[in-house]
């Protein structure tokens, strides 16, 4: 049977810049709607076209039989329009693209499903935001671009905020806010719009008593306090990079005014002549610092001891010293209370369904799970964290025959604010020959402790003891010996790593690690190169960047050594080894590292 996409749902105005919608699929006999799963005789196509229920392509797009059962979404970009470059997908890098065609005047791109399209659409939103935030002057032009991008992602909080900002009229701000859906998204909209609109705000820190007693402030205390502000700002950088991928590197906080006699520090988002995006970034950093001083932290931000310490220092830089802060957008100062060390609070991950083995038992109530060569931990087999016995855990007892048998584990990760974590086993399924299962998470092989999430991988343990997954096939997985388990788990890990690096960061989601590991010397080189133009720089510049960013004293030879040790990630340009460049794989690696929540600056 030959399948074709014969059209797209809805109308396609001839002057449209971007059109997307559900594909109209034909098998030559019937017309199928892949989203609603209904079909009608193909003979109805002319009527549906004439009634403007769908647009019929001049030439149908042929697709593979395997793709015909997907929830196909068609994207059409009009060639030669002003914003074509913003909307043209990078089909080579973007996952989930089934096929693409160029047929005047349209560029057609077919996505496997809505999720794949959403990845593309959110990427477009980020590009548009970067363009508007960092162009030299905000002009009238971007409004049309923003409105067009909103037809791809109507409820995007920051895109709606920039729409409201560019328009400036209050009723448009109301409409933009109404387009955003959940309470969390509305909070994100409000914060971003405030960051865009308020260019005269200050965060003021005013100290009393203690080190400020008698007027003025001891220099060492002042220096200590400013250092803590810088540390706190740096601690929020990975969070900002993850949540606001369209913002460029966060600059350090700008101290506008220091009233030594009054022990007052005034920090501002606005710096004359700098782009709007920089102001927004500074604003967000200061916002998160002032919120941290009130004891509030973004829910999905990993615990950071250094941030806690910095916030405690800002709140009380010396004994008996009191702090009041005037927050951005506020007019009155408020008392800041010293943050007390309290019982660590917990946050729970969504369910992580992972592949692995039971590698040991402490007693019948504690099993060691092995989900990758370096990822082993104990879970309770009698308490799933809610007082119930994990489903399927009754196999973990007796003669140990379950050991190192391929299993699928449903896990919840409990992350504590003190940086510790534990996993709760909710359910497990030991795979027998012929069994099929679904895995939704992979341990990250780029950032220790992180997980690739929100994916769905169908796996099957074939009768010949081969585990077949979309990432590859792994043979002899049922031998249950230590060597056998180590072998196939290592291969599985490698396959996961290749998948993680091959996919665009826009396509994947990560659960960040509970505690952000310090960046290795390799990662420091990659991070600095990533921040430099084109990922290529003089080795001396890379070293200078590392020393500035991480307050280290490394030498050029250390950096050259990393190139030699990791030729897949780094390479020299020219024979004199003076210039270092990221390889394509190196760029993918460091992009994933940042997206997965790896540390990008000083802790």
């Amino acid at each position: 049977m030959s399948w074709h996409i014969v059209g797209i749902e809805g109308v396609v105005p001839s002057d449209a810049a971007v059109v997307w919608g559900v594909a109209a699929l034909s098998d030559g006999v019937r017309l199928h709607n892949p989203r609603t799963q209904v079909s009608v005789p193909l003979s109805e196509l002319p009527r549906l076209r004439d009634d403007q229920h769908l647009h019929v392509f001049p030439t149908a797009i042929e697709i593979d039989d395997d793709d015909a059962h997907e929830d196909l979404v068609v994207l059409m970009i009009q060639r030669g329009t002003r914003y074509e470059t913003f909307f043209l997908p990078e089909t080579g890098r973007l996952g989930g693209v089934v096929t693409h065609r160029r047929r005047k005047p349209w560029h057609y791109c077919v996505f496997r499903d809505q999720q794949a399209f959403s990845v593309y659409a959110n990427g477009v939103a980020s590009q548009v935001l970067t363009h508007v935030l960092y162009q030299p002057q905000v002009a009238e032009e971007p409004r049309e671009l923003v409105l067009t991008a909103l037809t791809l992602v109507p409820s995007h909080p920051e895109l709606n905020a920039i729409r409201a900002y560019l328009d400036g009229r209050p009723h448009v701000a109301r409409l933009a806010r109404a387009s955003v859906r959940s309470d969390l998204q509305r909070q994100a909209f409000d914060l971003f719009l405030t960051a865009l609109q308020n260019d005269g705000d200050e965060l003021q820190l005013k100290y009393f008593d203690g080190a400020a007693q008698g007027g003025g402030f001891d220099v060492d205390v002042a220096a200590h306090t400013l250092k803590a502000v810088q540390t706190a700002s740096g601690a929020f950088t990975p969070f900002l990079e993850r949540h606001y991928p369209f913002l460029e590197k966060a600059p350090p906080p700008r101290l506008r005014e220091l009233r030594a006699a009054s022990a007052e520090f005034h920090f501002v988002p606005t710096v004359e002549g700098r782009p709007l995006g920089e102001r927004v970034t500074r604003y967000l950093c200061l916002h998160f610092i002032e919120e941290a001083l009130r004891g509030n932290r973004p829910a999905d931000m990993p615990h950071s001891e250094s941030l806690d310490a910095a916030i405690r220092t800002i709140a009380q830089p010396a004994a008996a010293t009191r702090l009041q802060q005037k927050r951005l957008s506020e007019t009155e100062r408020e008392d800041v209370h010293q943050l007390e060390s309290s019982e660590p609070t917990s946050t729970w991950s969504p369910p992580l369904v992972v592949l692995g083995v039971v590698s040991g038992l402490e007693d019948d109530s504690q099993a060691e799970l092995w989900i990758g060569p370096d990822r082993r931990f104990f879970v309770s087999t009698v308490n799933d964290g809610a007082g119930e016995r994990p489903i399927g855990a009754d196999v973990i007892k007796g003669d140990g025959s379950f050991l190192r048998q391929p299993c699928v584990f449903w896990l919840i990760r409990e992350s504590k604010s003190n940086g510790t974590e534990r996993f709760h086993l909710k359910q497990m399924e030991a795979l027998n020959l012929g069994d099929k299962a679904t895995v939704t998470a992979l341990p990250s092989n780029v950032v220790d402790g992180a997980f690739v999430t929100d994916r769905s991988f169908e796996i099957e343990l074939r009768p010949n003891a081969t585990l077949v997954t979309p990432l590859g096939a792994f043979t002899d997985v049922t031998a249950r010996t230590l060597d056998s388990a180590r072998r196939w788990l290592s291969k599985y890990r490698e396959a996961c790593k290749e998948f993680e690096l091959a996919a665009s960061t826009r396509e994947l989601n990560w659960l960040p690690p509970t505690k952000t590991p310090e960046p290795s010397s390799l990662v420091r080189v990659l991070l600095v190169l990533r921040s430099l133009s084109g990922g290529v720089a003089l080795a001396t510049d890379v070293v200078a960047g590392i020393n500035e960013r991480f307050k280290l004293v490394v030498r050029v030879n250390n950096t050259r050594r990393e190139v030699g040790a990791h030729p897949d990630l780094l390479e020299f340009v020219g024979a004199d080894n003076k210039v270092i460049r990221l390889t394509d794989r190196g760029r993918a690696f460091i992009d994933v590292y940042v997206a997965a929540g790896g540390a990008t600056g000083l802790p």
Partner: protein
Amino acid sequence: VPYYWFHAFKRDSIPDTLAVLRSGPEIHPSPSCKTRQNEEALDIVPPCVYAYLGRTHEAFGNAAISLPISALNGKVTPFDSGGLVEHIQPVKDWESSARRKYLAEFTWSTDDLGALLPAYPTESHPGRRAYLNADRPPHEGPHAIWPPDDASLIASIWSEPNEWRSWLWEGRSEGQLPVGDDLVAWSCSNTTYGSILALTESLTAPQDVAWAERLVSKYVSGGVSALIESLRLVQEAA
């Protein structure tokens, strides 16, 4: 009642599209349109606006609204009435008077829906899910649930070769299907949505802005099929 009415529509201008979203669709003005011809053939008087329970009547669409079941006051039938003229076998081949009689036999007031829906598609979750998935009912036709006194009105319209529109509940509202504050959700193609966004920005009267806020908050991205699919899950889970 865990179902919504759906009405798909296409207007030639954005103001006309907004008028439908604000006040509700009115009958097609052309006396020669197919709907009017079918109404004449079936003696449906006065002309009506049509909506369908659980999904739209067409497999694709440019724009659609969904309304709660209480929003439509009029008549209902457990099939697409226009199909009796166009494609539902064997009724489409009957004499005109017989087709009219058939329609009248299986037409009820919307007030009766509370009693009708437990019979078809039943209150059970599998029954509801099957209906929302447009699966073929387990009965040969409506006569198997509501036996007619006149045996000549027995027709297996839910059997092969008829298809899903033959067992889709249809609602008919005289003159207009009012929307008002009842709009549950709506969708349209992204290009239509872009034009609507631009037009709503020109509204400045407080009541207009308030209405536009409610409107955009109920938009389902992705077009008519996305609207149907997202509300299928809501209706199934209700």
